[in-house]
């Protein structure tokens, strides 16, 4: 049992954890943009981004030249093109930040900030590991020997907190769209508001079976109970399995990803709500979109996909806890599953065309909501009858 922390220690440890999570997210987002280029390229039988760090001249030349000469693709070929994100970042940061003359300056500036804050705030309530990940080294001043928890904040109503904060993210889009004072963004913003508000209903409903089965709203406890299946009937696999797909579908809609990317449908709306944005303000929207993807993947992983354990949908009970490594929770499992789901996000983008607006609403209201209600009913029956 670690000694109780004083206020200063609490704050410092909190800051350390926040910074750690932010660093991981800020590493993941550029990697994700790179992965998106690559995966979509490969799925369309192209090579994706290969030009940076691929040639026979320049920084990576010594690595590549011999390989090319031998008639082989260079080592680490998959990572050719990776430095593109550096160029992306430099471009976004240094680009001229234009605010349209007729725009509402304050709201125009506020919108991307809101969007990013909502997206990143959610990371504070996600538990990446049940319990303490490691202890700070004893020799460090002030924080020596203190626990580094798997979650920044272990909120009792973690799930609700996440949903609430995520729902604030829509303001970024809507306000940005309105403040631009331009047709296309406004249309995109309206679509987005309608879409996100509609899809929030099945999204929440699809999470309810998990809440019913777990009997708690604490993120960590929910995840552990749902993946180990302790105190749950084996039949609980059914609602979890259905819920997973409903949740993922709604997650696509909530993050404005293909096939539900109507707010930024470039064929009709130029770029939708961020048409008038440039520079780092656009970068914030971009960042928020990818951060939201990570959040949705984290949630789907934690509640449906087995969380910190190996097997998804509460099947972990097959593996007894005595088995080394596979029987225990691990941060690696969590990250691997999150990565897998992120891959699915990109994979779907490479596959499906965009829905029409009425189809989008049909899918939400006519199929997903009834389906999730039925799923909720099944979960309730399983909880009380078995």
């Amino acid at each position: 049992m670690p000694p109780p922390m004083n206020l200063l220690q609490t704050i410092v440890m909190g800051l350390i954890q926040i910074v750690a999570v932010l660093i991981v997210v800020f590493i993941m987002v550029p990697l994700l943009t790179f992965a998106e280029r690559k995966v979509i390229g490969y799925a369309q039988v192209r090579l994706g981004a290969t030009r940076t760090a691929s040639g026979t001249r320049g920084f990576t030349a010594s690595l590549n030249r011999g390989m090319w000469a031998m008639g082989k693709v260079p080592v680490l070929s998959f990572f050719r093109g990776l430095p593109v994100f550096v160029a992306d970042a430099v471009k976004l940061i240094t680009k001229e930040d234009i605010i349209p003359a007729k725009a509402d300056r304050a709201v125009f500036t506020l919108a991307p900030i809101l969007s990013v804050v909502a997206a990143f705030g959610v990371f504070s309530a996600i538990a990446y590991y049940p319990g303490v990940m490691f202890y700070m080294p004893k020799s460090w001043p002030l924080i020596g020997g203190l626990p580094f928890n798997g979650a920044i904040a272990d909120v009792n109503v973690g799930l609700l907190f996440i949903l609430g904060l995520a729902s604030v993210g829509v303001y970024g889009i809507v306000l940005g769209a309105w403040a631009s004072n331009s047709k296309y963004p406004l249309l995109g913003g309206l679509r987005s508001a309608a879409q996100i508000v509609s899809y929030e209903v099945p999204l929440t409903l699809s999470l309810l079976p998990a809440v019913i089965l777990a009997g708690t709203l604490n993120f960590k406890d929910m995840s552990v109970i749902l993946s180990t299946g302790q105190g749950m009937s084996p039949l609980a696999v059914i609602p979890l399995f259905i819920g997973f797909f409903i949740y993922l579908t709604c997650g696509f809609a909530e993050t404005n990803r293909v096939p539900f990317d109507l707010p930024e449908a470039e064929t009709e709306l130029v770029a939708g709500f961020h048409t008038e944005y440039s520079g780092m303000k656009f970068g914030f929207f971009y960042l928020a979109e990818y951060a939201n993807m990570i959040v949705v993947s984290c949630l789907a992983t934690a509640f449906f996909f087995g969380g910190y354990y190996l097997l998804p949908f509460g099947l972990q009970r097959i593996i007894p806890a005595s088995v080394p490594f596979l029987g225990h929770p691990s941060f690696l499992f969590f990250m691997a599953k999150v990565s897998l789901l992120l891959f699915v996000f990109i994979w779907v983008r490479a596959t499906l065309p965009r829905y029409r607006y009425d189809q989008l609403m049909d899918v939400g209201w006519k199929y997903l909501i009834p389906l999730s209600l039925v799923n909720l009913f099944i979960a309730a029956v399983i909880r009380y009858a078995f």
Binding site: T50, G55, T351
Partner: protein, 169 residues
């Protein structure tokens, strides 16, 4: 039945399977295999790997020589006459020990050439071809005036000439 079809999105699964298949294919061949296998499936990595061109690719005009190293052209002027953009200018001449006429000058203004290959088709002696050189950009207009001599530009470069192109077998 319709309900079942709605609930189980088979089309989406089929689409995902297809893109997944291609993803796997490219993922496993793009990074491991040798360049030749690499070329067959997808985008060619052009500057690093020579581009595969079709045999009938029409590149730069080339004068051919026979086994003895003699220019095959006999100055029948068929190519000069048929050329739609009139980029070929031939000056007839005589050479000792050779019955057929000999081109003293064979000028080719590449800047106007449309690479239609009429000249090659009209040639009765198979003495000219369009080779596989496609990197023809130059900094000066004069560099496009090719002839039999001068400025390192000559019409005799054999095919393939391009540093980066490979003829299909």
């Amino acid at each position: 039945m319709r309900l079942l079809k709605t609930l189980i999105p088979g089309d989406i699964a089929a689409g995902l399977a297809l893109t997944g298949k291609y993803f796997g294919k490219v993922f496993f061949s793009a990074n491991r295999k040798k360049v030749r296998a690499h070329l067959k499936h997808f985008t060619q990595e052009y500057p690093e790997i020579p581009v595969r061109l079709a045999p009938r690719f029409r590149g730069r005009l080339t004068l051919l020589k026979d086994e003895q190293g003699e220019i095959k052209c006999v100055c029948c002027l068929a190519c000069e006459k048929i050329c739609p953009t009139q980029v070929i200018t031939i000056e007839k001449g005589k050479m000792e020990g050779r019955k057929m006429p000999y081109p003293v000058r064979y000028d080719f203004e590449m800047e106007r050439c449309i690479f239609c290959e009429f000249c090659v088709e009209s040639c009765g002696f198979d003495s000219i071809i369009l080779n596989h050189q496609f990197e023809l950009a130059a900094y000066n207009r004069e560099d496009f005036s090719l002839g039999m001599e001068g400025l390192g530009q000559n019409m005799f470069a054999p095919s393939p000439v391009g540093k980066y192109s490979v003829a299909e077998d």
